[in-house]
Subunit: 689 residues, 2 copies
């Protein structure tokens, strides 16, 4: 199937493509060893795959990383670690901006609420999940049955192993696999560079290439108060990867929509992406103007602001792909061909023929509830940490009164420890920022539903959005973690007797929000899973089974080669160098965000100017892969993914290697900077060089 | 009526308000002399009013100003003059940023396309306009008849006087007045300060108070190559205005919606403001990211970026007012009372009873076409100077083939010279920026109508928005002014034979755009004018006739007093001082946008620190009043309006003087800066001090 799809892509989307293309975010338990051997003469052994998998780390704050020493050292991107850095910072000590360097173990401070996961094993439970749903069952019953069996599988697995156990949905509902993770929650900070070099070039250079960023950050996982002993970690490559060398990327791509039906893509194109972009721009402008008022404001808003800007740029790129007729026409042609083959075979037709229309029906339905659903259930109307905490407390009390199998997925017993890690986090909450965010989002709800909407009136309680937001933030005690624990301990009665303003607000909203959730789960999510299971089965039947599911923030292995490209007639080299960094700064007048930190300016003469700094490869990645190790055939670390170029943003919908590239920091550049700029001898030694 | 409305406002909106409030953007020909005399013991004579009116200047780029010497010197804000400054700038010489100081007449450079207007006389033509519309006529016929009589009145007046002649609509259709202007088009730059002091505090301080801005700019009007001899200009006040002193503001408030019906306000609140804000944020983010890429990009985008940020902040404030139940409930109560009085009187009821429902019908209608209308007719889909030029050329050719009375308003003969001033402007157009803006707006159209919409397909012609934008900008010659003249001269046949990409695009769109325009004019604008004429008449009948129309960017006279206020318990003084400026910079770490220019830092010790710099007053102003002279009873200039505080943004819908304030630069601060910071002796001498 891969080959069929890729030939077609070549002809229509980009005529220079050929079957050599390195498409695929592969499941570790379905890796196409033979395909790789045929193309590159290298077949990874099961041991090789296991070693790389167990060296890979998921950051639950949203990103990837890897073990790089036997003493629990983990490397990720600065921008993945930034959430943890921000939570450890104060007005006087901004770790995101200044960076950090622990000279010894005693200097390694503990992160506030970071959780890291290592994928220990994978089990296909598709059969058990699907058997729980009886033929002819209504979508509502089917959804309840499916939820029950998934909650049960997770709890059984957790009880047996003590491992975090998640049933993950693959192929949009085509398969269900049980993923079990070893979990680390005592994570300490070892090293971070200054933001000015980690994110050198800022928003203008984000998603661009050539790049010159030291986007790295080191943490250490502890167990029982000691650095964890790690069996599987990646050795540091002395040479790094050469031009055209085969490399692998092991990480957690967040979400792609390549297997979506055309109707589903049109929905993303015409409705979901545009509205998400409106929301992102709105919040970007809000936080920018809040941050512009003072340096302390800027620090408080910084991490969220980066994340909105980053998503905005990524979504604009994705939407441009969806709006490109070349891509959409290709999708239409592929779907038409598959459907005509299904329709031509009476057996296939009977089993799968209606699947595409079934997907479209779910989309028609969700359009009728999406505005209210996004606002009330997904929480877009309540852009506030404190609201989120109140909502978790209210729901937890209700859900805990039910048997595990009947609970909403996020309140199942298997995931409880991770939920509590977030709920009782000591991460700082800033009331002034809470008011600004909440006032804006209440205003947005008022705009979207209309000021005369019954729910708007209930929420605002006769006040303006600004006044109501102030009242809510001033009227809650949930900023104190002890108070959260007290409410949680009190269960349903503590909730119903509470006079806390946020909890009372949640109580007002929750009946309607739950109705919307049920409608969403039963009339959108469940029938869509069933329909996509048929699409996936039809695809397997017609095109064969060597394929990979869309990205779902679960561990995948991609491969590709280090390779430059041509951009509008200009040749782009695969590498940049440390020396080029200083030239790039000068070319932009060394003005923010092209201002290098003092430490780099002082070390300029010490650095070997031709050391590779950043490089591009054809590996198939997307957001969430940030921090993924780049590994050579020997299983050594040769780099770390931190970005894709602007041309890579269409990878959300279709793979191409003409100009789309993954962007990494090179292992040699990291080592040179650690030793010469930062004098981080102990850390460099621990990495083995 | 004023008094009735204000008492009610006091009770419900802001209980500290009383009948002393200085509400009103008064027409010069309907100024409430008696009301003023009763309150302040000062009755301006007709001569006084005439002098101030003829000293007032309208900037057609959007703002106000005044004559300040007999030799044609005009003062306005830096941010009003910025459009002209940007058009005179190049990559090497950024006048917006650096400022300018002409030491002698020979150094005064000519502006590219600036037009200034002085209001010579006003004539009420309501009777003639309304008589043209026959009872029982369809809305379509009525619209055509009304347009014809207005075009005819303007042309007759223009032919007779040679003055620019505009029929302006007041009271949303309640009255029509003929305004005749003396027009100046040879305008030269005399003085502008650096942007850093003109807009000190930037977006964070915009619409805030206390403020420290030298937001001024001097131009000179020329006639026949010589400085114009001006009879009516404002003398410079030696002392400035004292605390609680009565002052007047003569300028051009852009738009208010105070007389709108509740249904109309709800439409603004729930639809128009939110969508405008989405558009503003979108363009703000677009230009910000474009500008961040290089200093030259930043220069090119600067003026538009400021304007989007300024509008965004103003609209957010306005929307907050509309979303405040206190304000909206007051509007509802007022309307209910007026309607009940109308309904109680059979005669009034028969004449005006349906007016409010008639307004609502027009709103229901416009909702059905507004998306397409805004995109295609109002041009939101085509955010490009070159597109605008092409569209003017195409329409001009069509309209010029018709008798004057039957033309679209903007192509009438009376306004032709002003239209050509814009069309043949030599202002620079940057193709790279054009592509970025057009690609984004074509993308927006695709989002809003859906990629499968027939018109979207026609416009994009099988390409992605980005590719199509590049093709259009590369495929037009209209960047050359000669080419525009050539096409215009060729009339309809030049248009239909043109191979210019932009002209061909306009031809594709124009039939549908014109349909939408006709529907808008005939099913929204005309019936709404008729309905509001009834609302206005009902209001006069019930409440008496001493009132003022909503702002329409025509000359108005407001009054008020210099007065501090309380903001959340903190006393805000009416004045800031020059000395405070340096403290304000230090309090923000002297970092952009709180960085003072070199010229100020050098002159710090020379400046009298306690000189008043900015001050607040209760005068009733809104956007468009920027640059308005602030005048004392003696008719002397005591300041220049440049902003309103954040609390003033609700003035769009309702007047309040509790905390809403107009913000001005003080005449003393201006004089001190001109002499001590800039050594502008000749200019200061010309001002008379």
């Amino acid at each position: 199937m891969m080959i069929f799809r890729l030939i077609a892509v070549c002809l229509i989307v980009a005529s220079t493509l050929n079957v050599e293309a390195d498409e695929g975010m592969w499941l570790y338990n379905q890796f196409p060893k033979k395909m790789l051997k045929d193309k590159y003469g290298f077949e990874p052994t099961d041991e090789w795959l296991k070693h790389v998998r167990l060296s890979s780390v998921r950051f639950n704050s949203g990103g990837s990383g890897s073990f790089v020493s036997s003493k629990g050292l983990v490397m990720t991107n600065h921008h993945v670690g930034a959430d943890a850095l921000a939570k450890m910072s104060t007005a006087d000590r901004d770790l995101v901006k200044l960076g950090y360097h622990a000279k010894s173990a005693a200097d390694e401070p503990k992160c506030v609420d970071l959780e890291l996961n290592v994928l220990m094993n994978i089990q296909d439970v598709t059969g058990r999940v699907n058997e729980a749903v009886k033929p002819g069952q209504s979508a509502a019953d089917a959804q309840l049955a499916r939820r029950a069996v998934i909650n049960t599988i997770e709890k059984e697995a957790f009880d047996k192993s003590g491992l975090r156990s998640d049933v993950v949905t693959l192929f949009q509902g085509g398969e269900y696999h049980l993923y079990q993770f070893k979990k680390y929650t005592d994570i300490r900070l070892v090293f971070a560079p200054e933001k000015t070099i980690a994110f050198f070039g800022g928003d203008p250079d984000n998603f661009e290439y050539p790049r010159y960023d030291l986007d790295i950050c080191f943490f250490r996982v502890y167990e029982n108060g000691q650095p964890a002993k790690i069996e599987h970690y990646l050795s540091w490559s002395r040479a790094g990867a050469g031009d055209n060398e085969l490399i692998f990327v092991s990480g957690h791509p967040g979400r792609t929509s390549r297997l979506n039906t055309v109707a589903h893509l049109a929905y993303l194109r015409d409705l979901q992406f545009p509205q998400t972009l409106d929301l992102l721009r709105r919040r970007e402008v809000l936080l920018k103007t809040y941050g512009d008022r003072s340096l302390e404001n800027a620090r408080r808003a910084e991490d969220d602001l980066f994340s909105y800007q980053n998503s905005r740029k990524a979504r604009i790129g994705g939407l441009a792909g969806l709006q490109d007729p070349a891509i959409m026409n290709k999708k239409k042609a592929d779907e038409a061909e598959l459907r005509s083959k299904v329709d031509a075979d009476p057996k296939l037709r009977e089993k799968y023929g209606t699947a595409w229309d079934d997907v479209e029906k779910t989309i028609k339905f969700v359009k009728t509830i999406r505005t209210e659903y996004n606002l009330l259930e997904a929480g877009q109307a309540f852009n506030s940490e404190l609201y989120g905490i109140a909502r978790t407390l209210v729901r937890m009390a209700d859900e805990d009164a039910k048997p595990n199998a009947q609970r909403l997925r996020e309140f199942g017993e298997a995931g409880r420890a991770s939920l509590e890690q977030q709920l009782y986090s000591e991460a700082p909450i800033y009331p002034d920022l809470e008011m600004v965010k909440l006032a804006d989002s209440l205003g947005m709800m008022t705009e979207m539903l209309g000021a005369d909407h019954e729910m708007v009136k209930k929420v605002l309680d006769g006040k303006s959005p600004r006044d109501r937001a102030a009242e809510l933030v001033k009227g809650t005690s949930l900023v104190k973690v002890d108070e959260r624990r007290k409410v949680a301990k009190g269960g349903k009665s503590a909730i119903s007797n509470s006079t806390d303003a946020m909890i009372r607000l949640v109580r007002t909203i929750d009946p309607r929000a739950r109705e919307l959730r049920t409608q969403f789960d039963q009339q959108y999510d469940e029938p869509q899973r069933q329909a996509y299971a048929k699409v996936a089965a039809a695809r397997f039947a017609v095109l064969g089974s060597t394929t990979y599911p869309d990205a779902t923030f679960t561990l995948r292995l991609a491969y590709g080669t280090v390779k430059g490209y041509e951009d509008e007639g200009r040749k782009v080299e695969p590498w940049t160098t440390l020396g080029g960094t200083f030239k790039h700064a000068e070319a932009h007048g060394s003005k923010e965000p092209f201002e290098l930190p003092e430490s780099w300016l002082k070390s300029k003469d010490k650095l070997k100017a031709d050391t590779p700094f950043n490089f591009v490869s054809t590996a198939d990645i997307i957001g969430g892969n940030s921090g993924s190790p780049v590994v050579n055939k020997a299983g050594e670390l040769v780099g770390i993914i931190f970005d894709g170029n602007i041309q890579s943003l269409v990878l959300d919908f279709t793979y191409s290697d003409t100009t789309a590239r993954a962007v990494s920091v090179h292992s040699s550049g990291i080592m040179e900077a650690l030793r010469k700029v930062y004098g981080a001898t102990a850390l460099a030694d621990e990495l083995g060089h």
